[in-house]
Symmetry: C2
Subunit: 380 residues, 2 copies
């Protein structure tokens, strides 16, 4: 008997009270009951996105929201800039390209970031660029891009800033209005502690202006059409009802903890995880600011990163993640976002010791706990 | 946000598949569906109790089964011997006394055991004694009594051996038939990984003979009356239906793992836990053979055992247990029985480091993990 542990960078574990809420009999979406639920959830989402704008949900995964961001703000032949320093930066590029957007890549090697002055400089050279697409947390590398600085870089240009906050919403601070971010998209299956299947788009005023003239074809992801209905607490198409029911519960949990505490907790867990990894003599993959959502680790010499996750799974029934794109085989990634506590980090690290030992790597037993525990003992 | 961990020596955590089974709509107990369920469960219980005798469930907690053992085997004024080396030994004495049984206590200090030759000698001196009552695992002290040796000591005497296996069934090997144990009682909320509310009595041939002439008054716990109905897969009174539904699931899990593996797993977890405790320089409370179900630890000098569990709870949302009876305040106890894996032990130990540190005790960070991890790395 081996208990199952979900420690991937999403989907993340679902709290029991959310599972219980979602296990209730389904309600119909064209009813006063759903309208009341949706009204509550709309309020909560604004709070979580730190915005006065509407946050519009779609029944889709995060990539659906990425597509929505593109088709709702751009027209065929428009130019856009993409921050590409990982597999999800690559995804922005792929989606833009699929819609015929002239896409300019600002690349950085996996594990690094693109400095904001490169963004500013690019916009000066390409004043017609209408959007900058980026991640806040690049899930594939475990790097946190400085989207506050990107927002400053975009100011005064022709471009809006669109931030993919899929693995950072409810994990890292993201002040949409205060920082002046034009559009934020996110998904349900990370910091929100919900099953996958719900995506979110929030548009500020400037993005809304772009939306009014955007000519890319759209139907399912038509933000303005959905928004018009959403403010009446209604939906155009059948929503993912049970996830919305779970969302009410998850938002209540986050509110009870308080946003500042939620960010502090994730920061603490991430620091403990990194300390533990370094305590074992392993190298962190993120060279730029690490994401509080994910710790990415360079597989030790002679050990395949894919073997690390396979051993986690086979020997310990724990799901972590490997490298994506060019990092495949070279790294492995542990998630610590959402419904995660300090002892989950201890479990991930202790299992890592066992995994490395099984793969023939010398292990100083307890070294990861020693480093992490010391940090966790500090008053939070 | 702090995840809740139930690490007491019972009730123990319930596996998700058991919770799901129990969440199904209730079925009625006077139906073919219940008879089919009960027939399956009866088979499984015999396998788990390692007996060809019937195992009869009652809707009751473990103490109900203790009472059933007394009232179904003894008559007013009968003499009995009780192995008393902890709070549950004391409970046998209390229950026997309440029913007017002349009870002879074989006492040992908490943390120790009563050797089998004391049992044999007592029965030679008191040849009319009709029963010996004992625990296999004394939950209050974390000691495993040698019930196989007790069974040998009872052989040839006038007394039957009644073993309380509440915290050892599905945890430590207990071969009811092969060892010649006359009666075994147990509960649902420990190794069986179920909610409390179901108790079990199994009687061998000799105990059944005693049952036929036992004159103590009984109605709800009338074993022979219940047995007569049980073999037809029916029940006299309304059973704890959803726990029986969960029991089918729990038995399937135990069968899939295999009894030998179940015992091996618990032994390994217990050894790792003890190694971790000693790695921190703490003293184990059990001086006799330790139970694979529970690790009892002497609170370090100057620290109240009750403060240890209060801090576990307050600072880490983890429930462990304190001392009972004369050990209250002096010890604390961690359970590792039932739905428990190796990383639960690491969590319990890592939390212990944090708790001791918070209470002002010097802590060598990671020392408990170091000791436990080394042991867990051995091929199981």
């Amino acid at each position: 008997m081996k208990k199952y542990y979900l420690m991937a960078p999403g989907p993340t574990p679902i709290p029991p009270q959310v599972l219980q809420a979602m296990a209730q009999p389904i309600i119909h979406h064209r009813t006063p009951a759903y309208e009341a639920l949706f009204s509550e959830v709309r309020d909560g989402l604004k709070w979580l996105f730190q915005t006065r704008s509407e946050v519009v949900p779609f029944a889709a995964s995060g990539t659906g929201a990425m597509e929505a961001a593109i088709v709702n703000t751009l027209s065929p032949g428009d130019g856009a800039v993409v921050v590409r320093a990982g597999a999800f930066g690559d995804r922005w590029w792929e989606a833009c390209t699929a819609f015929g957007i002239k896409t300019l890549s600002l690349e950085a090697p996996y594990g690094e970031t693109v400095p904001a002055d490169r963004v500013a400089e690019t916009l000066r050279k390409h004043p017609k660029a209408k959007a900058v697409f980026c991640q806040q947390s690049e899930t594939s590398t475990g790097v946190l891009h400085d989207v506050k600085a990107y927002a400053d870089a975009v100011k005064g240009s022709n471009a809006i800033l669109v931030v993919d906050a899929v693995s950072s919403l409810g994990v890292a601070d993201l002040q949409m209005d205060a920082w002046g971010i034009d559009m934020v998209i996110a998904g349900s299956q990370k910091g929100l502690m919900l099953p996958p299947g719900l995506a979110f788009c929030a548009m500020g005023e400037r993005a809304m202006e772009y939306a009014k003239t955007a000519k890319l074809p759209k139907y399912y992801f038509d933000f303005l059409a959905e928004l018009k209905i959403a403010v009446k607490n209604q939906v155009r198409f059948t929503p993912a009802v049970s996830i919305v029911v779970g969302l009410r519960e998850a938002l209540a949990m986050l509110r009870a903890e308080g946003l500042a505490n939620v960010f502090k907790r994730h920061d603490r867990l991430a620091r403990a995880c990194r300390a533990g990894v370094e305590g074992l003599g392993l190298e962190l993959f993120a060279k730029a600011t690490p994401s509080p959502a994910i710790t990415s680790v360079v597989a030790p010499k002679g050990i395949d990163g894919e073997a690390v996750l396979a051993t986690y799974s086979k020997s310990h029934n724990i799901t972590i993640a490997g490298g994506q794109g060019s990092a495949k085989g070279k790294i492995f990634r542990v998630g610590h976002m959402g419904y995660v506590g300090e002892f989950d980090v201890i479990v991930a690290l202790s299992a890592l010791e066992q995994v490395l030992f099984e793969l023939g790597h010398p292990v100083d037993w307890g070294a990861s706990s020693r480093a992490a525990q010391k940090l966790l003992a500090e008053k939070s």
